[in-house]
Subunit: 101 residues, 2 copies
DNA sequence: ACCATATGCAAGTGACGGCTTGCCTATCAA
DNA sequence: TTGATAGGCAAGCCGTCACTTGCATATGGT
């Protein structure tokens, strides 16, 4: 197996990892160095390259990121399908605008 | 303010807290003792009452649970509206059943 | 071959989170 | 008032997590 249910929520628990998902949403298929650069310039993330690499490993284990090697580059692609589990678990029957008595 | 964006994901990061949300989805407005009982019998959660109480505090800080006092009882109600932030952040343009090439 | 680029592996550290333990407060019924 | 029920506060322990540091591997250009 590639990861249990808890890995998804664990992956989302970190601020930097959520920023990585934001960046991949804006521009899919970036390399590690591209992501590092964007996090530093746009979000003032001062973490080292290894830290970002470890974050990407967590995101990949959660199924939110899939990687594709090409030569010495490794491109990271976003996969938002696991996120639907969140919606389907608790938002099933709730109405968007519900009044409380 | 009642909590920043990160509190929501932090609240979802714990397994026991997700089980609490499950139980409140199935039966809304339970007391602390009711939740403790259901977690113990249905999910083999051996945590103490104080542990569950602290979990409920985290869920309330994240805006996922709202409480209502009545005498010596404190009823916990589910509010799933904060969960929509997850959908709107990363699932904006993705289609529900999308094929990958 | 040589060097720069792009990434990987592994050990160590500091802080935060989940849990327990112990005691305290508040409400209701007899 | 007394006792039982429902919940709250606070300190401490321990494991996990994010991060750094140092070194290693692999690809591409010259």
């Amino acid at each position: 197996m590639v990861g249990d249910v808890g890995d998804l929520y664990q992956a989302l628990a970190d601020h930097t990892r959520r920023l990585i998902l934001d960046e991949l949403t804006e521009r899919d298929g970036q390399t590690l160095f591209e992501i590092c650069g964007r996090l530093a310039t746009k979000h003032q993330v001062t973490s080292s390259r290894q830290a970002i690499s470890q974050h990407l490993d967590v995101l990949e284990a959660a199924g939110l990121v899939v990687t594709r090697r090409q030569g010495r580059y490794k491109f990271h692609h976003l996969d938002t399908r696991p996120l639907r589990a969140v919606t389907e678990r608790w938002l099933r029957s709730a109405e968007p605008t519900q009044e409380n008595p």
